[in-house]
């Protein structure tokens, strides 16, 4: 008589330490080997798109803050770029420079959280707090500029809510030489640790064509070895003026496109962001940051799909205007939402612990997945 066996269904989440919020994963397991992953979303659904239809254009900006709350600045950026395209207005040089600096600082801050929590997923607690110490410095820079630490509402259609603080340039310049050695320290402590490499190399390998077919973007796509960055490939704002590299996964310790590659792409991206900030910080032109803000934002009838390179990937805003003061339809193409759909593909045949590692390497923010 054959022994009766059945697959074990393990519910991971919505309350689980390493699902990065309220994601629920339904794992079908055979022993500890994952046969199938079914993500269930929506526990953090806050009806952003419905809200946006009832708001005027400037009022939507605080709501965009709350989608990817670890990269609010960049969500503002994406939205204002889209609305400015719809309005057909040109913003002053000074605004563009400040936006780029803020955006790159935000990218570093967001990646620091991603890297720190990834260490936490793997079981290393300490790098998480070291990353948060550095992130705190960036948040202080934001705080002196716009008064908020997390949800900024800083970039407005046509301008900025505040000009930069007189101390901002000096403090940012101090931050760059402080931060470079910290990246090295993180590499020594976590990135090249043998246990960490063992845990992440050759895990969750994502081939390039699968990644593109699934619409993956950002570090997830670049980790697969595809040189793709909207700042270079589809430039917006003034990114075409700066000199920086696009780091891609090279399979340094494992296969191209594994978790370690995605992780290391983020580490390298922080260095590239520092390079952009270095180039921009000395060249901020003078001017008024609010001169181009329209008195009444009432775009003509039309629609636009505009995308920016959010720290998590391609953040797209599809806005339809019916000629009134509030948008007719706003659809957000959230990078985490799209990247998360690859999870099932990547984690088949791995262990439970690897699912945690793979999920962490995608770097999702549930506020953005569920909107």
């Amino acid at each position: 008589m054959a022994l009766k066996t059945e697959e074990l269904v393990l519910n991971m989440g919505p309350q689980h330490p390493s699902t990065h919020g309220v994601l629920r994963l339904e794992l079908e397991l055979e022993g500890e080997v994952v046969k199938n992953v079914k993500p269930h979303l929506g526990y953090l659904h806050r009806c952003f798109e419905k809200h946006a239809e009832a708001m005027t254009y400037p009022q939507v900006i605080p709501y965009t803050d709350r989608m990817d709350y670890l990269a609010s600045m960049y969500n503002n950026f994406g939205y204002v770029v889209a609305v400015e395209k719809l309005l057909g207005i040109q913003v002053p040089e000074r605004v563009e420079y400040i936006r780029v600096i803020m955006g790159e600082l935000q990218r570093i801050a967001s990646h620091l959280v991603a890297l720190g929590t990834y260490g936490l997923d793997i079981g290393a607690f300490t790098p998480f707090l070291y990353c948060f110490i550095d992130r705190e410095k960036i948040l202080n820079l934001f705080e002196i500029t716009c008064g908020a630490r997390l949800l900024y509402n800083y970039m407005w259609v046509g301008g900025l809510s505040h000009d930069i603080h007189p101390d901002f340039v000096r403090l940012t310049k101090e931050f760059i030489p402080y931060f470079r050695p910290r990246i090295k320290e993180l590499n020594d402590l976590l990135t090249f640790n043998k246990i960490f490499i063992e845990r992440t190399a050759n895990i969750g390998v994502l081939p390039v064509d699968t990644a593109i077919n699934y619409g993956a973007s950002g570090p997830v796509l670049r980790g697969s070895g595809f040189r793709w960055d909207l700042r270079k490939n589809d430039p917006y704002s003034i990114y075409d003026r700066f000199d920086f590299d696009i780091p891609v996964g090279q399979g340094l310790v494992g296969t191209v496109g594994d978790c370690w590659d995605r992780y290391y792409v983020r580490v390298q991206e922080m260095e590239q962001s520092l390079r952009i900030i270095e180039q921009a910080i000395d060249n901020i032109p003078d001017g008024d940051v609010q001169s181009a803000i329209p008195k009444r934002i009432k775009p003509p009838k039309g629609m636009v799909y505009s995308r920016v390179e959010n720290p998590k990937g391609e953040l797209g805003y599809f806005i339809i205007s019916d000629g009134s003061t509030s948008p007719f339809r706003v659809k957000v193409r959230a990078p985490s939402f799209v990247n998360l759909s690859v999870l099932g593909e990547m984690s088949k045949g791995h262990l439970v612990a690897d699912v945690v590692a793979i999920l962490g390497s995608i770097d999702i923010v549930l506020g953005e997945v569920d909107r």
Binding site: K50, L86, N213, G215, V304, Y305, F318, R333, V338
Partner: protein, 176 residues
Amino acid sequence: MKNPQEILEILKAQFPNLEFQLDASLPVETFIIADAMAINKISNFLAENEELLFDSLMNLSGVDDANGTKVKDEEGNETINGGTLSVYYHLYSTKIGHKITVRVSTARENPEVESVENVWKTANWHEREAFDMFGIKFLNHSDLRRILMPYDWEAGYPLRKDYKNPEFYQGMKVTY
């Protein structure tokens, strides 16, 4: 790099018995209007054709066009009868670097669109979202369930313009 006009010509040459239209009336973006029941075929062609190679679906979004007749019932609730729901496909070719927007429209009462999931896997969740929010049924979709709303949400499709907030959800009072 091809502009929408050229892409339209290629499409017309490939599918002579289907209707295509180029809508350039709205500023910023021009889009091709295609047939909802042939979108799978068209997508396959767009993704595979050597000249087009649209290998990436940037975004898929449902839109309530709200172009039907608005009807008010006794209690003052407004519903929309007739008109269309649309699905917009924003395509991009990572190899060539051109973009195109395709729109298909379907009747509001029985909205049905062919799924493009087998062409771009990313469409799976996007289509689920469009189903969730607008009730657009994607034919041949492998797993058409609600995605963001609760699976047992019975109060309709929230992003339709005539959606009414329910008073109760599963017997629980919903406070706003």
